[in-house]
Subunit: 103 residues, 2 copies
């Protein structure tokens, strides 16, 4: 695991949303219902997350389910993911609008 | 300040190196001696850091000096920058080579 790769992977609104969703729900399907993102784009996002060591994949039939490698990340980069998840909590989810506050 | 923009800004080896250097030295000149990076590329890196709210700039004659907005970042995203700086500490600096360990 490389810190720059982890930060790069988290530094995108769709990927950060996927990470927050995995943190909240445990497992997330490769094509989550809530995201209006082309499949190929999503596939690329999942690849970047996987290659950074952030996710593991469980295949089930034709579907794949992703989970956050929370313990591995915590062991390698203590506090990094957890403080990011906490900081991300009040942020608007992808697709939602937010009034003011962002600056 | 936007968390995604901050993570994106930190998710690059040159920019993370600049941030670590500011954390260590306080102030860093816009063209640090140690970095063998074209001036225009460096300029772009500083712009991304500034636009993410990570740095402030002090002009002095024709030079500019950058500092980390450490307190502002801590107030807005508690623990995020500090845990990243701690996690980055054992990582090799830009240009240095490292044996094993990175995976």
């Amino acid at each position: 695991m490389d810190l720059v790769a982890v930060l790069h992977a988290l530094g995108d609104p769709v990927r950060l949303d996927l990470v927050r969703r995995m943190a909240a729900d445990g497992e997330v399907p490769c094509s989550p219902q809530h995201l209006n993102v082309p499949r190929s784009t999503l596939s690329n996002h999942w690849r970047i997350l996987r290659e950074a060591g952030i996710t593991s994949t469980r295949p089930e039939g034709k579907a794949r389910y992703m989970t956050l490698r929370r313990d591995d990340l915590e062991a390698r980069f203590p506090g990094v993911l957890e403080t990011i998840l906490t900081a991300a909590a009040p942020e608007a989810a992808v697709g939602a609008t937010s009034a003011g506050q962002r600056q």
